[in-house]
């Protein structure tokens, strides 16, 4: 199991668990980061952070602080 921010662009992963809590966890769930959801790592920004992820068809940019709270396994 790895953290989402460690996954390089071009890879597909599945959500295993969320380490966030409170409002952030709620926001992540609302964006579709439920167990088993497929994520595509699309592109890293200038200077590496934030990164664009394809989550259920939407392009969402997350900073590495937030992405590190999402545990994933390769698809």
């Amino acid at each position: 199991m790895s953290k989402l921010n460690d996954i390089p662009a071009g890879n597909y992963v599945k959500v295993k668990d969320l380490l966030s809590d409170g409002m952030l966890r709620e926001r992540m769930l609302a964006l579709g980061l439920t167990k088993g959801a497929k994520i595509e790592v699309v592109q890293h920004g200038p200077s590496g952070d934030p990164t664009i992820y394809n989550i259920r068809g939407a392009m969402i940019a997350l900073r590495k602080e937030e992405a590190s709270l999402i545990l994933v396994t390769p698809c």
């Binding site: 969320l18 809590d21 409002m23 952030l24 966890r25 709620e26 926001r27 769930l29 609302a30 964006l31 579709g32 439920t34 167990k35 088993g36 959801a37 699309v42 592109q43 890293h44 920004g45 200038p46 200077s47 590496g48 952070d49 934030p50 664009i52 989550i55 259920r56 068809g57 939407a58 392009m59 969402i60 940019a61 997350l62 900073r63 602080e65 937030e66």
Partner: protein
């Protein structure tokens, strides 16, 4: 301190709940994810013109409008975009509160046809809350471009609610939407939402709690369907959202705490981990359903979706991202400067030509000198300056900026600059509010509502002024054109570069001051940030240009009459009423002069900035008025005369540079100050909002002056 979570929430709610309706009126809530064209639907239905930009969080004010259909009146409330009813931000809380407690007669959920799966989360949540839901699948034209085919009838059967396909931008499907809405409100269509069935564990608990709640509610005379949905309430008790439960208790005036134990009785405690597991399970179940619906009823062409990706691979790339941004900024400025040139000359010739005629007429009518002075030299001349010099650039820049906004480019800017904002301890969304400031600083300050944390909202509010607003661009352009463009008709590259440079400086100052504030009076931890990059949407360029230009022109003209005319009158009076041996204006200018010279300006420039408090676009005209009132007899035939006036009054390169810097960094205009007060609710922060830019401006001018003097350039 005036700014707390409470205060922002309560003011927002106060905006919402004042809906008084009669029996012939229906209150309709418009909900949906951010960026689904909700506001476009709103505009098309109500005929109002709320601006719809393509970036998430654009709707910060709850708009209300109405329309008639079949003799019934519909009051439409446009809620801010939300990803879920379970609020993870103040905006979402506001939307949630209205859906739960505003008692709408029906809810239209607007979803993006190109992103159905994610959007269905909210739809299912709302379906649990109320039966009267209509699904409006918008942006169907964008979907067609991407070869996405949606089986709306299948979805309607699956969800149990009416579904309407729309392309609100072109009016497609709107009549059907109105018709469906009418039928639902009149009970001619009765939606029966097929909500998500959760796992056995949860469903069993619900079977225990729900009847008890229903009994209690009917005892208290609440009818299911026209008040609170008992299943929804049972679920909320199970997942123990204490803030929501408190809200429910106070809003519906029921004692829900009696049910708190239900959660415990049924084995699910108010233990945090167990509760968050429940929220996870609920979300998971909803998304599994959403996935299934998408698989079954939506056909996609994987290849067509690539277009946006390709564009973004350049626009947000490591190497091209930021240079492209700067290039784009430069191009827009160049178009503004070049494009404004010709209209400015034409209008100036026309208006100042009339001034001559008016002067002749005044002389022939033997009206007193002072009347001629006040009306023609004061009011008319200032008006003429604002309209000929200030209006054309504003009428060009604003539409171009709007096109960029509508295209969806702004979130990409926020993405590219995010690492800088993070280093400055500023919220990621501050980049968006900063960009809004380019149009108008007051709008930028209002836009700060999209930032939830009070600390970061304040930082964004206080630093918004450092990007030049629409009213300041013409000043910067005019001064740089005078001093950097050799003569009329020459290449305008240098002025373009210098204004671009000033903007970059403004952004750097924004970042620097955000950092300073974060480390001193607004200490705290940075909050979390997710940014959605919406698909690029081709704006209807013709329509945007047309409405924007007209809109801007009317706005500037109106402002010219309301603000510039009186300011011109006051300036003329100050310049021509003598006390002792000199005019009031001269006295004031002389008073400010030593300080002004110290920072590389002169007394009249400071006076012009002070008198220009109501609106930034009048600063230059007032300055010119002041110079001219001191006796020089200059005819203006063209903008060239601007150069002569300035040079005749002692302007050097240093003066030009410092005036531009001062214009960029000085105190906010009157409207912005009032907006800061309204948004923060505090005089203290408003005062700081005035003081901080002023100090920065003075300090910067002082530095440049010192440098120039050290090197003997001035």
């Amino acid at each position: 301190m005036g700014l707390t979570f409470q205060s922002t929430q309560s003011t927002a709610l106060k905006d919402l709940f004042k809906i008084e309706k009669t029996d012939d009126q229906y209150v309709i809530a418009l909900a949906g994810n951010p960026n689904t064209g909700k506001s476009t639907v709103f505009n098309v239905l109500t005929g109002l013109r709320q601006h719809t930009g393509n970036w998430p969080g654009k709707t910060v004010v709850n708009a209300r409008g109405q329309f008639k259909y079949n003799k019934k009146e519909f009051i439409l409330v446009d809620l801010p975009g939300t990803y879920s009813i379970f609020a993870s931000s103040v905006e979402e809380e506001v939307a949630r509160e209205f859906l739960c407690f505003g008692n709408p007669d029906a809810v239209i959920v607007v979803v993006d046809a190109t992103c159905l799966e994610r959007n269905l989360n909210l739809v299912y949540q709302i379906m649990e809350l109320t039966n009267n839901v209509i699904l409006c699948i918008n942006l169907i034209d964008e979907a067609r471009k991407k070869n996405i085919i949606i089986d709306s009838e299948g979805i309607s059967k699956e969800l149990g609610i009416p579904v309407v396909l729309c392309a609100a931008r072109s009016g497609l499907g709107i009549k059907e939407l109105k018709d469906t809405l009418y039928k639902v409100c009149e009970r001619k269509i009765i939606p029966s939402p097929k909500t998500v069935i959760y796992n056995d564990d949860i469903e069993e608990k619900l079977k225990e709690i729900q009847p008890l709640i229903e009994e209690y509610l009917t005892k208290e005379k609440y009818i299911n369907g026209n008040g609170i949905n008992s299943r929804w309430l049972a679920l909320r008790i199970l997942d123990g959202d204490s803030k929501l439960i408190k809200s429910i208790s106070s809003n519906f005036n029921i004692d829900i705490y009696r049910f708190k134990d239900m959660g415990e009785l049924s084995g699910l405690s108010s233990d945090d981990t167990k509760r968050s597991n429940l929220r996870d399970l609920i979300s998971e179940s909803i998304y599994k359903k959403a996935e299934m619906v998408k698989e079954k009823y939506v056909r996609e062409d994987k290849n067509k979706i690539k277009r946006d990706r390709k564009i973004d691979s350049y626009v947000t790339s490591k190497h091209f991202g930021i240079p492209l941004m700067l290039l784009l900024l430069g191009i827009i400025l160049w178009i503004t400067i070049k494009g404004a040139n010709y209209p400015s000359s034409v209008i100036a010739d026309f208006l100042f030509g009339i001034e001559d005629k008016l002067t002749l007429w005044f002389k022939s009518m033997n009206y007193p000198e002072w009347l001629h002075g006040l009306l023609i030299l004061g009011i008319y001349r200032t008006l003429a300056w604002v309209v000929s010099v200030m209006l054309p650039p504003m009428a060009i820049f604003f539409p171009l900026f709007t096109i960029l906004e509508d295209l969806g480019y702004l979130p990409r800017v926020a993405f590219n600059l995010d690492h800088l904002f993070k280093k400055a301890y500023a919220h990621g969304k501050q980049c968006l509010t900063m960009c809004m400031g380019f149009g108008c600083n007051a709008a930028g300050v209002t836009a700060c509502r999209i930032i939830d944390s009070p600390r970061e909202k304040l930082i964004a509010t206080l630093t918004n002024n450092f990007v030049p607003c629409n009213g300041r661009f013409p000043t910067l352009i005019a001064i740089s054109a005078v001093f950097l463009a050799a003569k009329e008709g020459s290449s305008l590259i240098l002025p373009t570069l210098s204004v671009t440079g000033l903007i970059i400086l403004g952004i750097l100052v924004t970042l620097l001051m955000s950092y300073v504030l974060s480390k001193t009076i607004l200490k705290g931890i940075p909050s979390t940030f997710t940014l959605e990059l919406p698909p690029y949407r081709m704006p209807q360029i013709g329509r945007v240009l047309y409405t924007s230009i007209i809109d801007r022109t009317i706005f500037v003209l109106w402002r010219a009459i309301i603000v510039a005319a009186p300011a011109g009158a006051i300036t003329w009076l100050l310049a021509n009423i003598h006390i002792g041996n000199s005019s009031i204006l001269n006295h004031l200018a002389t008073f400010f002069d030593p300080f002004a010279k110290f920072i590389g300006l002169d007394g009249f420039i400071i006076m012009a900035f002070i008198l220009g408090l109501p609106a930034n676009e009048i600063v230059l005209p007032i300055l010119l008025m002041s110079y001219l009132s001191t006796g020089s007899m200059i005819e203006f035939e063209s903008i060239e005369s601007l150069r002569k006036i300035l040079l005749d009054n002692g302007w050097t390169y240093l003066t030009a540079l410092n005036t531009m810097l001062f214009s960029l960094l000085h105190w906010p205009c009157g409207t912005t100050i009032l907006t800061i007060k309204k948004e923060t609710g505090s005089w203290k922060w408003t005062a700081l909002g005035i003081l901080i830019p002023t100090c920065v401006a003075i300090f910067t001018c002082f530095i440049t002056t010192t440098i120039f003097r050290i090197f003997g350039w001035a």
